[in-house]
Amino acid sequence: MNDERGGGKTWVLAGLLARVLVGGVLIAAGASKRAKPPEEFAVVIEAYDIAPQDSVQSLSVLLPWAELLVGFSLLFGFLTPAASAAAAAMFSGFLLALLSTKFRHIPLPDCGCFGQGLHLPTTVTIALDALLLLPCSLLSLRQGARFLSLDAWVGRKAPRALGPKTL
């Protein structure tokens, strides 16, 4: 149960937990937005006053799909280092957007993180978002947690075909 960097059991389990946690959060965030009309999320993006107005509708459709894709990549452990870097970029972008609304005194009735499913105060969202960067870093720095992952399955050598010598 060692990973490729020679980590012990604790690191292996921490890696798996980090993948499930970050992947789960992204899947929940993406799914809750997909469950609502994109116009609802578009209004939240508008409230941040960062993205150009013409791109708001496209972003409201694309972002939930990106969250789902990165979330499932992490959950299944597929291209984990790249997926965790993408997740870290998403969390950092969101964190910067939230902080900018704080500095510009823009009131956000809903952060938009989980569609209309869950409403969190901005400060709590900032804290949670910053906390999620830790497991992302763990996954990136340790080259991804390979325990119970597609990466491990892809990297494993295929069993040799049974030939006459093995019979």
């Binding site: 997909r34 609802e40 508008e46 939930p64 499932f72 959950l75 569609g115 209309q116």
Partner: protein, 204 residues
């Protein structure tokens, strides 16, 4: 190894697509408004704008000029239907909606509607009941009938029916507009995308 990599990618993509596409989002059409006094414009107009709104919502108040502009722009080609969606986070919204309904029964829905938005800061507190009566007096309503109407549970049920319809139509916030069935949330979407959509509808 390539086969396994492709299989892995296919599995991730399949899970993403299955989750993203499987979530049901059926939007039922709105029922016809039960109260004619909450409608403006000809019934046969080619464009029907339905607004789900909350009198205590500041964003709804801020969206009022946009609504007026759009209605002025299209005149008799647009029919407007107001629907109540008092949000639970607004403690006086339901009472305000009931008061507006009661004003409507005396033919003053729109003036009362305008007053509620114009003086929103004045009544969104514990003085709300007194203010509702004051506005009724200012508009020359029959005070006894207005008072009796406000305590009639059937009126609150009508407002609740609108709110239930809004929830069934996945309305998550106010104001939400449906223009010939297409959704627009907030004043910006109404002004930009909504107007573009109306022009498209009228070209057909």
């Amino acid at each position: 190894m390539l086969t396994r990599r492709l299989s892995g990618a296919a599995l991730v993509l399949a899970a993403t697509l299955a989750t993203g596409l499987a979530l049901p989002r059926v939007v039922p059409p709105q029922r016809e408004s039960t109260e004619a006094f909450r409608e403006k414009g000809p019934a046969a107009a080619p464009v029907t704008i339905v607004e789900y709104s909350d009198f205590e919502c500041p964003v709804c108040r801020a969206a009022e000029p946009a609504v007026r502009q759009v209605l002025a722009l299209y005149g008799n080609r647009a029919r407007f239907i107001f629907k109540h969606f008092p949000l639970h986070i607004h403690p006086y919204a339901l009472a305000a909606a009931v008061a507006a309904e009661c004003a409507g029964r005396q033919g003053k829905f729109w003036p009362y509607h305008d007053l509620l938005y114009e003086r929103q800061a004045e009544w969104t507190n514990k003085d709300a009941p007194l203010k509702f009566e004051q506005y009724a007096r200012e508009l020359g309503l029959d005070e006894a009938a207005f008072k009796a109407c406000r305590s009639d549970p059937a009126v609150a049920r009508l407002v609740e029916a609108d709110a239930r319809e809004a929830r069934l139509r996945w309305v998550g916030g106010t104001p939400t507009f449906f223009i010939n069935g297409k959704r627009f949330v907030g004043a910006w979407q109404l002004r930009q995308d909504g107007v573009r959509w109306i022009d498209e509808v009228l070209k057909k």
